[in-house]
Amino acid sequence: MLIKLTGGRVHDPANHVSGEVRDIYVEDGKIVAPKPDARPDATYDIKGRIVMAGAIDPHTHIGGGKMNIARMLLPEDHKGDPVTCTELTRAGSGHSVPSTHITGYRYAEMGYTACFEPAMLPANARQAHMEMGDTPMVDKGAFAMLGSDDYFLRQLAAKKDFEAIKDYVAWTLHATQAIAIKVVNPGGISAFKFNQRKLDLDEEHVYYHVTPRQIILTLARAIEELGVTHPLHIHGCNLGVPGNIETTLATVKAAEGLRVHMTHTQFMSYGTEGDRKFSSGAARLTELVSKTPNVSIDVGQVLFGQTCTASGDSMRQYAISKSAHPKKPVTMDIECDAGCGVVPMRYRDKSFVNAMQWVIGLETFLLFDDPWRMFLTTDHPNGAPFYFYPHLIRLLMDKSFRDDSLQKINSDAQGQAELLKSLSREYTLDEIAILTRAGPARSLGLKDRGHLGVGAAGDITVYRDDPDREAMFATPELVFKNGEVVVKNGKVVKVVQGATHVVRPDYDKAIEKPLNDYFDRYSTVRMENFKLADEEIVRGDNGAIIAQPTGARRS
């Protein structure tokens, strides 16, 4: 099967193609070199249209226990957004924590072809993958959370051989079918179980006497030496605390040249200036990260409306539970492994703090000059549901729209938004393509995604060139998944099951001996049952596994 997309203006930054008219050929699901003499089975005349690779969301909470708690907690979230089944698609419900099928359809209808769940608790990995298995249309993958799990903390406290720690990190990636490792409030989720209510970068965990700095350095180094492409994904200490910009800057410096990704930095960039003792740290963060090439970031933009925050950071989620709207926060301590907190939240443009969060996120986007080290996220659903992305893209691409929006927010926040008002930057289509395709693919090590070069998967999105960029990105004209048309004019026309991307770094299988002893002594789950077999995803969830390459293990 050969198809040809002809006449489109291609934005493919990974291959240095910037809006030139190019024909794209896809054969058996993969992009191939132009075959001018061949007779395609189908030709799509997309003259004047904008063509990009399928979009990739590298940080979106789409599956796993905390999302299902959020769904269970918030029937009111779904009541207003019911979705009927069709001949083709399943029923479900939407808004901030949509049901799984609806999540898949809406991502695809927005031109996305891959989504990554960034906070999979190893103890909950099986369920996270099952939920993703019921999320059609998109490829997916998950980051396993480490850093508050007792096995790791015990190893670190006992100053175990670093190679053994690396083996454990690699074993976790295998056992949970993950593509990366995330650390959330390093050590803090565990510390909260010991009744510590905060844990600064250099503050000791009361039981293990290790610090978040040590945890971050150990995990970041382990990942680097294991050859895993995506660097340690860090949700740092003190999320949401005014003044946490100091912690965040210190964390960036703490990486000591190791590659790290600082996630949803908007929530981590708060100063204490101004009458309300709450101010933007975006300028300081972006200045430091700009000159720290080992660090990448995503923003976690807040957009106004009802949503639900859901995080592994039980310590900080508990702390903000008084802000819950509606007032029904959930906190959970989990399996000597991790925790979670689910706090429904309504971001109001007339709230000073919420408006400042909006300002800080936009400042971060507009001040940071290396799109290859920045991803477009709302930290779905924490800052806003993912289908607000087109609105966010318009805010970035359209200065006058941004200025109009700024007029509507809390007036005190407007008073602190002089910097934002002064920023005239408008993102280009190439930059958007980097933020939403090429950058995430490169960072996650997805060799054949996020670009349109020969050998890439036929995941392609075609947009009408609408000056209203929100309308343009909300309703792509065509979306191809592995060379098949799956969305037309923003509606699903074919349902497909995406693959699950994982990494499989080398490790010494002897690690299973102490691990097995640990599970037998302390856990209510056997190690053999903890591990998630390939066939659960392949047969049980009717999926497929793609093992992305890793570099050679180093010591």
Binding site: N68, R71, L74, I334, E528, G540
Partner: protein
């Protein structure tokens, strides 16, 4: 799925096959350390058995044919009859729902296509919890966390020993713990004089305390503890059997605990409107978390109810009691309660799924009933269609969600009998509609 009638046990083998790390699907806490042998005589639990797991694994499976109106039928005839009944129904009710993840996925797919209602046999108990979750939120914990960390475990008005015979062995008094909170340093408080304390006695638990109220008054006792902690001058009534000193002592234990866990099982709470008792339990946790650490642990979860609620939630957006009558899922925990609907004459066909234990039978009803059941299911009257299905974790592989809602466990095919899974059977029905 094979077309032959699914009734033959697998052929006898010379030497027994031994399975390790076997999950017990007959209890919501899903112990996964069983060792089970299969021989010509069936299955035998050789290690880590309990009353209910031995009964479940070792039950002699009777021969079971597909039945239409009580008479033997081919599988294909029975499936066609089921498809016909569901296909012409205006409001099919999908109840029971004792199934694995794959089975629940198939239930939801078929309910959606046939405009049906989805509700589990024990969701009345589940809803005691959900009413509180959905109005106030809560703070909870899990089995492994409790096992290693809790220095105070309060068993609140629920007979945990009866429901979960291995809870004390696996969670409350394990031989070892990660943080030195061994059983010897642990206090277990029973609120309710009728609760079976045998799991705690004899075990090496440091302190075992009983608050001698009626079991159904546990919520009142906890309310008094909360009131005393806030400094209110309240005294339990004489008839309660509890003294103010006992209340104060319990309050003090709670405040001194480093990690306290309040345990209840919603199905076991005997008081009317038991959600109000649960609100007190989770309220106690909330009060104490301001200064120390406390968490709730809701148990029960038998017959796959946790799995049913979890899968229904991620697929529809709602935890059971969902109607697809209008196409999109509609949620109403009162209106779409299948028990109530049957009493009130609503619905025109009942599809009852009971693949785990032989005792989960449909409520009495006059509407046609299609049963997907484990052979030996103790039906009170013949169903319109009976389709024998396998038990996940014995007859086929599958997955179940544990009662604490976080851990999902893989179930093995122990090769007990050649029976199709609930998922396979429902898919065949859906294909035939």
């Amino acid at each position: 799925m094979s077309n032959s009638s699914p009734r033959q046990p697998k052929p006898e083998r010379a030497s027994p096959t031994v399975f390790k790390n076997v999950v017990n699907p007959f209890c919501g806490t899903l112990a996964d350390d069983l060792v089970v042998e299969r021989s010509g005589g069936g299955l035998k639990v050789v290690e880590n058995g309990s009353r209910e797991s031995i009964a479940g694994f070792e039950r002699k499976l009777p021969r079971a044919n597909p039945l239409v109106n009580g008479k033997d039928a081919d599988l294909s005839t029975a499936i066609a009859e089921a498809a016909k009944l569901i296909g012409k129904a205006k409001l099919p009710l999908f109840g029971g729902l004792a199934a694995d993840v794959e089975g629940m996925r198939a239930v939801l797919a078929l309910a959606e296509r046939s405009s049906g209602i989805v509700d589990h046999a024990s969701s009345e108990a589940l809803y005691r919890n959900l009413k509180i979750l959905q109005t106030t939120g809560w703070t909870t914990t899990t089995l492994t966390e409790t096992r290693n960390r809790a220095d105070l475990i309060i068993i609140a008005g629920s007979d945990i020993q009866r429901i979960h015979p291995r809870f004390f062995e696996r969670v409350a008094s394990p031989p070892d713990s990660m943080f030195g909170v061994t059983a010897r340093k642990r206090t277990v408080v029973f609120i309710g004089k009728g609760l079976d304390r045998s799991g705690a006695e004899g075990a090496k638990i440091g302190d075992v305390v009983t608050i001698g109220c009626k079991d159904e008054d546990a919520g009142h006792v906890v309310a008094l503890v909360r009131a005393r902690m806030r400094g209110f001058d309240v005294t339990p009534p004489k008839r309660s059997g509890v003294s103010r000193a006992e209340i104060d002592a319990l309050a003090e234990r709670c405040k001194q605990a480093e990690y306290g866990v309040v345990v209840w099982a919603p199905a076991a709470l005997k008081s009317a409107h038991a959600e109000l008792a649960i609100e007190q339990f989770t309220g106690l946790v909330k009060d104490l978390n301001q200064e120390t650490r406390f968490a709730g642990l809701a148990l029960g979860g038998g017959e796959g109810v946790t799995t049913a609620a979890a899968v229904c939630t991620w697929i529809s957006g709602y935890p059971l009691r969902v109607s697809y009558a209008c196409g999109a899922p509609d949620y109403d925990p009162y209106r779409w309660d299948i028990g109530r609907m049957l009493k009130d004459g609503e619905g025109d066909v009942l599809v009852w799924i009971s693949s785990i234990s032989p005792s989960l039978v449909p409520p009495p009803t006059k509407i046609p009933t299609i049963v997907l059941g484990t052979p030996g299911l103790a039906l009170k009257r013949p169903a319109s269609v009976f389709l024998p299905v396998g038990t996940p974790g014995l007859d086929h592989a599958g997955r179940l969600v544990r009662v604490d809602t976080v851990v999902t466990l893989p179930l093995k095919d122990l090769g007990r009998a050649e029976l199709p899974s609930t998922a396979e059977m429902l898919s065949a029905i859906q294909a035939a509609i």
